[in-house]
């Protein structure tokens, strides 16, 4: 086994002495990198929760709010959602491939995931430029409530930034996996980040575009 860590040493006494809840050296039985990624994603979740509740407050307390289907192209956004879900699926498959040491497959699947991320970003850039062309600004918009466009730019922008960071992250995973200089654990941790980006989009898609 490569990268052996205390995970493997604690289990025996742990189950014998104090059962599943006893703690031991590695109570969660996950790697350090994975635990840290989850902690980061938790804090990031609360950041997005803050942004979305701010959006919810502005919308509920505003006397009027533009009807989203009159402003947004739901076909385009539906396609963006579809692409992000597909990229999440290919990322999950990359993790499976890496875990069974099929590195050529893993590299291919990570490549597909990056492609999905880039297509998503391209479509978002198109959507933004279209929206800006129609007069939407951070400070206001032609459809009424100024916070409508402000929350749109801040929330989708923050998410787009996460997608961009994810593409860069996965590009390094791809480069290192192609040279067989990466571990299956590393691919899995990168996968957690990518799925989180997809997870956040599920709520942005629902709360900003559909409701």
């Amino acid at each position: 086994m490569t990268g052996a860590h205390p995970v493997v040493t604690d289990g025996a006494d742990e189950t014998r002495v104090s059962g599943e809840w006893g703690g031991g050296v590695s109570p969660f039985r996950v790697s350090w990198a994975k635990l840290m990624m989850w902690l980061f994603l938790l804090s990031d979740t609360l950041t997005f929760a803050g942004l979305l509740s701010g959006y919810g407050y502005s919308r509920l307390s505003s006397p009027s709010w533009p009807a989203s289907h009159e402003v947004f192209n739901l076909n385009l956004v539906g396609l963006m959602t579809f692409i992000l879900i597909c990229s999440s699926a290919t990322m999950a498959m990359a993790v499976t491939a890496a875990k069974s040491e099929r590195w050529a497959d893993a590299v291919r699947f990570v490549g597909l995931t990056i492609l999905g991320g880039l297509v998503f970003l391209g479509m978002q850039a198109y959507e933004w430029s279209h929206f800006i062309g129609e007069g939407a600004r951070l400070s206001g918009n032609p459809w009424g409530a100024p916070l409508f466009s402000a929350s749109f730019f801040v929330i989708t922008g923050f998410h787009g930034l996460h997608v961009t960071a994810g593409v860069v992250y996965l590009a390094t995973v791809l480069a290192r996996s192609a040279r067989r200089r990466y571990t299956a654990d590393g691919v899995e941790v990168a996968g957690l980040y990518w799925h989180f980006v997809d997870l956040v989009w599920v709520f942005i898609f629902t709360l900003l575009y559909l409701i």
Partner: protein, 116 residues
């Protein structure tokens, strides 16, 4: 890997058990991810349908939020593998969400009952 000391034997037993588990997980293949992917697409189509069909506002909102939560749970459980982690890790990861719920719960009444 095997050692003559009792402690060493435990270590090697444990190593094999963990490796065997990882191998079993890897051999499950892509099936579970394909199924998750299909369900996510089905829920997305249902969401688009619920948003387009004319229903009472409360019904639309409830449907959309429920579908989003179901999609989110699928992603966390299967893509992010949380369903296959140890129970105490699952609790550790999910319990901070109480803060998000408090945040929404504290803000919502203020926003809804605000007099325009």
């Amino acid at each position: 890997m095997a050692s003559s000391t009792p402690g060493g034997l435990q270590v090697s037993d444990r190593t094999e058990a963990v490796a065997g588990h990882a191998e079993a997980a890897a051999h499950q293949g892509y099936g579970v991810y394909v199924r998750t992917w299909v369900w996510l697409l089905v829920f997305t189509l249902l969401e688009l349908g619920a948003a387009t069909v004319a229903l009472p506002r409360a019904v639309t909102v409830t449907l959309l939020v429920a579908l989003a939560l179901m999609k989110g749970s699928l992603i966390v459980a299967y893509f992010m593998h949380l369903r296959f982690e140890r129970l105490q890790f699952v609790y550790a990861v999910l319990s901070p969400f109480i803060f998000a719920i408090i945040l929404f719960g504290a803000i919502a009444p203020d926003a809804i009952f605000r007099v325009h």
